[in-house]
Symmetry: C2
């Protein structure tokens, strides 16, 4: 493929992904028909099936796209990066259809016959990477492993947003995410590193 | 109503609740028709509508029944009670239809038009009560409130079980719940009280 063609293919794929995310977010998996996704994306059915094998495949890609929305926005490293990922996630979950649909599908997937842990495992692996940096820098308490911290943070964030959504339509999600870190940091960070970790929603508002 | 009649009414209500829970657990909200619930409970449609106004009402009661399954099994107090609640919950989620359905419905309720935070808030209120005992006993760190700890634990448990279900069909839920406490306790318990808190799956296996 020529560069131009390749570029157009990437753009079309993203258009479909975003249209699907908007409809999945608004109406859930069953409510979003392929016909309507294609119409909203402004592409042909052929183009859609060129890029995605099925609606389930599309749902899987939407679920797994979350890190690609957030990771490029961040520059921090180690434990601070973990905090920043969750705060940006909490902030952008208010408005970004790709994140909103990704979380909704990940939670509801059992309902439509999917049992795909890839979006959880994807986030977990990314966090393990950042936690290994924290470990190398001596910021992580000796008695905890990157794997178990990452696993817990991914699970906890999933449940915290679900609870926040029911109680406040996610209005208090940022506050709940900050509380999570205030409760959790003493158990995972060395006392020496603790004061340097910043949990500040103001810092991620523009990310 | 005579005592005998009242007793029979309670029994019938429980039969319906349990049959509904089994079907909600196996097939989700939409899959469980009122006709099949009534058939499995061995009661008439009239009896069902005497006790529950609608299928949604039944789903709400199943979601809110979780504490009634677990709280009577426990004797501990304060922070230890919080730990024990979550371990018994993790253990019995493997087999108890009322708990399994309650959690499934609470997570999936957006799909069938319910937005009821009562099961989350119910657990949260119970935990706040136990945490106020912990506070009175001087076991809770000064910089955390019963409300925020309870709120976080309820959210975190919800997400941890969801992740565990996708990865291992909840086989590793007990292990993940113990990890949660190991990471979380240093941030919520006073250093003096910490060594006395026991996180031991063996102790709740018979509960």
């Amino acid at each position: 493929m020529s560069d131009l063609k390749q570029e157009r293919a990437v753009r079309t794929r993203n258009q479909i992904l975003r249209a699907a995310a908007e409809l999945f977010d608004e109406e859930g998996y069953e409510g979003a028909s392929v016909t309507r996704i294609v119409k909203r994306a402004g592409v042909t059915l052929g183009a859609m099936y060129f890029h995605f094998a099925s609606k389930q495949d599309l749902a899987r890609e939407v679920m797994n796209a979350q890190p690609y929305v957030i990771e490029p926005l961040l520059r921090s490293t180690g434990l601070q990066r973990l905090v920043d990922i969750t705060l940006v996630w909490a902030h952008r979950l208010q408005t970004d259809p790709l994140l909103r649909a990704g979380v909704r599908l990940a939670v509801e997937q059992g309902r439509f016959g999917m049992h795909d842990s890839a979006s959880f495992e994807g986030w977990k692996d990314i966090m393990v990477g950042h936690l290994e940096v924290a470990r190398a820098e001596g910021d992580l308490r000796e008695d905890v492993s990157p794997e178990e911290v990452a696993q817990f943070v991914v699970g906890a964030c999933t449940g915290v947003q679900l609870y926040s959504q029911l109680v406040s339509g996610r209005d208090d999600l940022m506050e709940r995410t900050c509380t999570m870190w205030r409760l959790l940091l003493p158990g995972i960070v060395t006392p020496g590193a603790l004061p340097a970790i910043v949990v500040d929603p103001g810092l991620v508002k523009d990310a």
